[in-house]
Symmetry: C2
Subunit: 219 residues, 2 copies
DNA sequence: CCCGATTGTCACTGGGTGGTGATTAACAGG
DNA sequence: CCTGTTAATCACCACCCAGTGACAATCGGG
């Protein structure tokens, strides 16, 4: 098992050069937040604790208590950061496509969502955390994620609306659930329900299946 | 005064079953396995450890090492038990329905799967474990689960085959992923992707959506 | 200059964990 | 009745964790 500490550790021994980051509170806060995100993305919510974060940030855990009020505050800070996720990782336009129908929109949206989630370990770990625990910490994080997601969808949706007679909320929830589970399962075991999800080719097959489902519903 | 005997016969801690279990190896083994399953179902893979299981079984953890060779062996024993899951919880026939088409079959299958997973905490926790960790323990458990599931599906499938031109493996993987994620998300947070999943009515809406998706693909 | 406030480090407590060797209690065969 | 075997417990180890109080170092204002 790869040790979280070894991965994150800097050239330690604070005695040798303790002048790297002296009395720079803003810098230290950033280092802590970065370490927390890095640790969470790499190791997941298990092993995510004060000591590990402090070690990763190369500072004393006391500072985490002082600057963030403990793990809870730190998680909240991560949540606040999550708002910027959309801007960084997901295009705001449709990529030059013309989205004529609601089906076009959903197909494009789902594919983008698959790709975005597939190469964002932090998001994946958060999703995994969501379905494993229900603490106040997770709830906040989850909320921030949902908010960012909703914002992004709204931005793309424009004036398109779902066809009548279809419970779009329910159907879309099913689709999102499917994507999230497949990406998570793939990230941990490389497959999902008997379908291999390792190579890019595997994912293309999966994507085709999802597209087909979307078209089967929305035409 | 035979104080020692009196002490031993008393259910001195919170053991669930106060039946006297003196020098009853088979009984102790059963108690351990039961406690493990109960604990895993209730608390999930976090907090699932030697000490907790021993406490739940009302015996010394040493016995777990002796009889099961540690946690790994215990998990394996749980996996072996999982084979009986199908027989207990899922009907072997279609419930008096006539499954004329592959679409009929899949619709029925998915609905049964939703219901079965919804009221089996242990299975849910195992699924959650699967997408959160990738240790040898989990891999074994996961394998046992997949095997039991495949067996059950085969038993119902009969001679029906998917329509040509549809990648049934991929599509079904998407469907199963969706169901698993929705049930898990519901169990922890009572909703999934903005869709409330608390009441039975909520679940009926979700089920309708899933059925619609199935029919959209398989007709 | 001094002194208070801020930044950072250290050392410690109390509790939980996995794991192991030594010990006791009940039984069964001779 | 004694004795060896098995079931079960106890005592202990080293480690990791969260949390806290005390201390050292640095800066900045008066």
């Amino acid at each position: 098992m790869p040790n979280a500490i070894a991965v994150l550790e800097k050239p330690l021994d604070g005695r040798a050069n303790p002048e790297k980051r002296v009395r720079d509170r803003a810098g230290t806060e950033r280092a802590i937040l970065d370490a927390a995100k890095r640790l969470l993305a790499k190791e997941g919510f298990q092993g995510f604790g004060i000591n590990a974060v402090a070690r990763g940030a190369g500072c004393d855990k006391q500072l985490i208590y002082r600057y963030y009020g403990g793990l809870d505050g730190l998680v909240e800070a991560i949540g606040a950061d999550l708002g910027g996720w959309v801007k960084e990782r997901i295009p705001e336009d449709a990529g030059g496509m013309f989205l004529l129908t609601y089906g076009d929109l959903m197909e494009r949206l789902i594919v983008l969502f698959i790709e975005a989630l597939r190469d964002d370990p932090l998001m994946r770990k958060i999703v995994a955390w969501e379905i494993s625990e229900n603490t106040e910490q997770v709830r906040r994080l989850s909320e921030a994620r949902a908010k960012a997601l909703a914002l992004w969808i709204d931005r793309m949706r424009g004036s398109l609306t779902a066809p009548k007679g279809v419970d779009a909320v329910a159907v879309n929830a099913v689709l999102i659930a499917a994507v999230q589970h497949m990406v998570l399962s793939s990230a941990t075991s490389g497959q999902c329900a008997g379908l291999s999800l390792k190579s890019q080719k595997d994912w293309e097959k999966a994507t085709v299946a999802v597209k087909r489902i979307v078209r089967g519903i929305y035409g």
